[in-house]
């Protein structure tokens, strides 16, 4: 086994969003709210969305989690704000494909923009769920599921 480069995983942008996560608050006037839960580590996360005319007007996030999940939630909130539901779903699919890809496989970097900083997570199977929990939770909220979702 080779030595690991943790800077690949904990890139500067991830570290920065971990220490100052964006949109981390309950959302006034939200019309979607879903709790996400990762039973592996006990992380809990609530995603609030305000969706009108098929557009995500605003996003709020609450919860505790590791650096990867906090940064992922923070960057997700920035990336889906102002997007249509279809665009957000497309981003979710591209993000999930990148995180769960086989070693060395390509991914859609153009579609992902700054979310590409999470590309190193695919090398850490134990951390994949940390990065995808906010996205799965948002996905459930968009699908109109009101109940808690779990990464299991």
């Amino acid at each position: 086994m080779s030595s690991v480069d943790l800077r690949e995983l904990y890139q500067d942008l991830i570290r920065e969003h971990n220490s100052k996560p964006r949109n981390f608050h309950a959302l006034e006037g939200a019309n979607r709210k879903v709790d996400g839960y990762n039973p592996l580590c006990g992380d809990k996360l609530t995603v609030y969305l305000k969706v009108t005319s098929d557009v995500i007007q605003d996003v709020g996030i609450q919860g505790s989690g590791c650096a990867i999940s906090r940064a992922s939630a923070s960057l997700m909130s920035e990336n889906v704000k102002g997007k249509t539901v279809a665009q957000a779903e497309k981003l979710f699919k591209a993000f999930r494909a990148m995180i769960t890809r086989e070693p060395g496989a390509d991914f859609d970097a153009d579609a992902l923009g700054d979310l590409e900083v999470f590309s190193g997570v695919s090398e850490y199977p134990a951390r994949v769920k940390c990065a995808t929990l906010p996205w799965h939770t948002m996905h459930a909220a968009l699908a109109g599921k009101g109940k808690e979702i779990s990464t299991e």
């Binding site: 086994m1 904990y10 220490s19 580590c41 992380d43 590791c66």
Partner: protein
């Protein structure tokens, strides 16, 4: 492979830590020699499972290559040998726990199945509507959920002994919980998340003075200290083989013969019967009444070898050595800025659970892994305990006698790396 050292002479026992030759002991554990991510493996996840000495591995290979047969079922040569070795392992467990008789030792899959056995058999027989089962706030989920299930089924009530901020049981509160409705106390000997060693003899005495039986979950105790079930006075004692340097899939329930005799079987099947007709089954005698089906024969024999190994090292010497190492580790970790140790009981064994301000334990685990250091992060199957301390998770380093001061130093250095990367 080198044979384990003979038991300590009195002179050695006086200066246990210095005469404990860890470098030589490590030679007995082939897995410890490897590198992980290009760094020497530092295995500090012993509370999850322990590593196996060569003698256990060799015992499994020898059994499977020269003896393997079913037990108690054949008149042929191999079956007789397998049965001898299997029953020999039972006798080793009896001596290890200082139980009075071999038939008080029941082989199960592990501590979890052991607790479930007692809950299903003794619990269903004795616990009814309005009755109470007492556990503590520091229990592993395996000593919570079976009782919760039983209480639900029987309309009984689960009562919980509170703890203080150091992670010690509030014994006054415990005594107040005991009442005529209390039908069982089930308590952990050593906490897997805090390392607290509970004052088990006093707990048992308080229950017994009111005629209440006590189950002790010894999963985290037997790898670290000599256990004497008769001195302790417990009614049931459970542990897992894999945490005491034996194989996975094997564990033990000790039960006082008098109680076991009166209990119904846990599962039905082969070996647990004396005779079967479609109208009626007569159950086998102890311990077979509780061992339905083909047991984990190789696992039991491997456990026997593990018990021989730790007994030869000397449990008292192991305790003394680990205690010194634990103190050293606590001092090294406490010196790190922003680090808080969770679980600071006066009487502790093996466990260093901690949180670092501003850093999630999961990230600590990943970064330490990059340094070849294996710890566990999460709630350690003790979610109510995490809630009590107001943390979602902790990072936990758990020690065994083959760990060294150098490994503690590596952990402390690894934590500096965590701070570099994330703070």
């Amino acid at each position: 492979m080198t044979a384990p050292r003979p038991a300590a002479s009195p002179r050695l026992a006086e200066r246990p830590a210095r005469t404990f030759d860890v470098a030589r002991i490590r030679e007995d554990f082939p897995i410890l020699k490897q590198q992980v991510h290009g760094k020497p493996l530092v295995y500090l996840d012993n509370a999850a499972t322990s590593q196996k000495p060569q003698v256990v591995i060799d015992t499994l290979v020898r059994y499977l290559t020269t003896i393997n047969a079913n037990v108690h079922r054949g008149i042929h040569y191999l079956s007789a040998r397998a049965t001898d070795e299997f029953e020999g392992a039972r006798a080793k467990v009896r001596l290890f726990l200082n139980a009075a008789e071999d038939r008080e030792i029941i082989f199960v899959r592990g501590a979890t199945e052991g607790i479930n056995l007692v809950a299903h058999s003794y619990g269903r027989q004795h616990i009814g509507p309005g009755d109470e089962v007492v556990i503590s706030h520091m229990e592993h989920h395996s000593n919570i959920v079976p009782w919760q299930m039983l209480c639900q089924e029987r309309s009984a009530k689960l009562r919980v002994i509170p703890i203080n901020d150091a992670g010690e049981l509030l014994l006054d509160e415990y005594e107040k919980l005991l009442n005529p409705r209390t039908k069982l106390v089930s308590i952990v000997h050593v906490s897997n998340s805090l390392g607290t060693v509970n004052p088990i003899e006093g707990i048992i005495a308080a229950a017994h003075s009111r005629g209440i039986p006590v189950l002790v979950d010894g999963a985290q105790a037997v790898p670290h200290m000599a256990v004497d079930v008769r001195k302790m006075g417990c009614d049931f004692y459970v542990f897992s083989g894999h945490k005491v340097f034996g194989p996975t899939g094997i564990g033990v329930v000790y039960g006082r013969a008098e109680l076991l005799e009166a209990m119904p079987p846990y599962q039905g099947g082969g070996d647990m019967i004396r005779s079967v007709t479609f109208e009626k089954t007569t159950y086998n005698s102890l311990p077979y009444k509780f061992e339905a089906g083909t047991p984990d024969v190789s696992g039991a024999i491997g456990l026997g070898a593990a018990i021989d190994y730790v007994t030869a090292l000397g449990l008292d010497r192991i305790t003394a050595y680990e205690h010194e190492l634990l103190d050293y580790g606590a001092r090294r970790l406490a010196a790190i800025d922003g680090l808080q140790i969770i679980g600071t009981a006066k009487d502790k064994a093996s466990i260093l659970s901690f949180v670092l301000e501003g850093v999630h334990p999961h990230d600590i685990g990943t970064i330490l892994d990059g340094e070849g250091i294996a710890i566990r992060t999460g709630h350690h199957c003790t979610q109510p305990l995490m809630d009590r301390f107001g943390v979602p998770a902790t990072a936990r380093a758990s020690l065994a006698f083959y760990n060294t001061r150098e490994e503690i130093d590596a952990l402390a250095q690894g934590m500096q790396r965590v701070i570099e990367v994330l703070k």
